[in-house]
Amino acid sequence: MNIIEVENLQKTFHGKEVLRDLSLTVGRGDIYGFLGPNGSGKTTTLRILFGLLPKDGGRVRVMGQDIDRQDGAVRKKINMLPESHGFYSWMRGTEYLQYMGGLYGRHLDKSMRRYLLEQVGLNPEDTRSIRQYSRGMKQRLGIARTLINNPELIFLDEPTNGLDPKGRRDIHGLLKRLNRERSVTIVLSTHILDDVEHLCNRIGILSQGKIQYQGTLKGAENEVAPHYKFHFRKDVESETLKSIPGIHVLSVENGWLHCRLDGARPDQVVAAMVETGIPVSQVIRENDSLEEMYLRRTGGAS
């Protein structure tokens, strides 16, 4: 069942067409990676889906309700972490959650605030003001904010931007846990492929105002046939290698065969090589196929 359905979404800013007939679907329970270069319209799309920006055309349904006819009930079940955190830096983390809870019409008592902070790995006893938080801590506090209304759907705009590798991994773990334990559907806008590879089961690649690819991550990886490198313990003739079924030889150099597999699995190729008497010592998957496909789909933009 789809939690988000978008058909032919259009948006123009000052005469510039930002979104052109964008269509996408997000299933309940998905971690959907919304990929695209900077300025491709990811944030605009998320804001429209959340109801923060009016659309110029098309049809958007979130949780079964048309975005134009939302009565506020949907807003209570969804939440969003914008790219700019929007914290009041003079507040403490618990005070901020209490304030935002008030805006949701909820009184967050001490135990509830403690629970939310612990959920995201922040210390509830921390008395520092938010201005003293690291970027990773702010990101965690932002995620805690999105949990205030116990949402079924969360939009995250560039949640790992500016984080170091450890911080990124921590956020990945946190989001995976939320998805698994609380069954939260997550729509994640990013241009960081590492996020997508570690988190998402489905992706949409946005470029030039349109979805250029939508499907499973596995499908995306399969779109570009991966390159492999096989290392041999002794020199092997090119002609011998060409007799191995299921490979397309790209080059043979210094004991290394660089090839593309045409329908065969790497283990099948290794078996065929060993049968032919070729001593294979090492196999390396050569390229990041998602990156290649992303670059191809987005015209190499970053």
Binding site: L53, G86, L103, H107
Partner: protein, 251 residues
């Protein structure tokens, strides 16, 4: 606590914790101190009747209130937009009207603080004269009304323009436009245009009401009904404009 009260409470706390909040009250107290000193220390001004001194001080207090409404009101939405805190507010289920009403309530608290700050100064310059209690009562009424009018109008601007600077500039123009007729000379104010401007301008209406109460001792109940009704009309229009502007606040 309701959403409106949540916003109002946070805004009031920001008055205490943020430098700009306390800065306004500090500036206000410096202005009142300087003006109070002038009234009692300056050879010519010290000759003024006590009621006249209270009236002049009341005018300064109302001007300060309007200025605070302009500064804090401009910051209301446009400042949040500049500091990138607005999006988080709009993401919450609190409506634009809730946010606007919360911010307007906080402005009224700012006025209450300014008023409390001003009472000792008024007492210092007018305790020996007549109508001080009536002056305090009508000043409170006029200030509450003016704060609501200016606060609502500037918050409306703030909800619509993209930056604090733009909101502040537009708010100051509104303030100058509103205060200008008060600066008209006595003969011009007696002319037809002067009278029309006097009744069209909420600031002038409030000052004329204070003039009638403090200087002319027209303190009886019902004697200031007409100016109060005119001011109430302005309040209704300003709040309606704020309601319209805050229905759909954009980033």
């Amino acid at each position: 606590m309701s959403k409106v009260a949540t916003v109002a409470f946070k805004e009031c706390r920001e008055d205490v914790f943020a430098v700009r909040g306390m800065g306004l009250y500090l500036t206000a107290s410096l202005v009142l101190s300087a003006f109070g000193l002038l009234l009692v220390g300056n050879t010519e001004l010290s000759l003024l009747d006590n009621a006249q001194a209270v009236y002049m001080m009341a005018g300064i207090i109302l001007a300060l209130a309007a200025l605070i409404a302009v500064v804090r009101g401009s910051d209301g939405f446009a400042g949040e937009r500049d500091r990138e805190t607005l999006e988080a507010l709009l993401i919450s289920p609190a409506s634009g009207e809730d946010l606007a009403l919360g911010k307007l309530t906080a402005l009224m608290v700012s006025w209450l603080l300014l008023y409390l700050l001003a009472v000792p100064y008024l007492w210092a310059v007018g305790s020996a004269g007549q109508n001080l209690s009536a002056a305090l009562l009508y000043l409170f009424l006029a200030g509450t009304i003016l704060m609501t009018i200016f606060g609502a109008l500037v918050l409306s601007l703030s909800a619509r323009v993209k930056s604090f600077k733009s909101a502040m500039s537009a708010g100051l123009i509104l303030f100058l436009f509103a205060a200008a007729p008060v600066a008209l000379g006595p003969s011009l104010r007696q002319s037809f245009i002067g009278r029309v401007l006097d009744w069209l301008n909420p600031f002038a209406v409030a000052m004329n009401m204070l003039d009638a109460v403090i200087i002319d001792s027209q303190t009886g109940p019902g004697r200031q009904l007409l100016p109060l009704m005119i001011l109430a009309g302005y309040v209704a229009v300003a709040v309606w404009i704020l309601w319209l502007s805050s229905r759909r606040i954009e980033l």
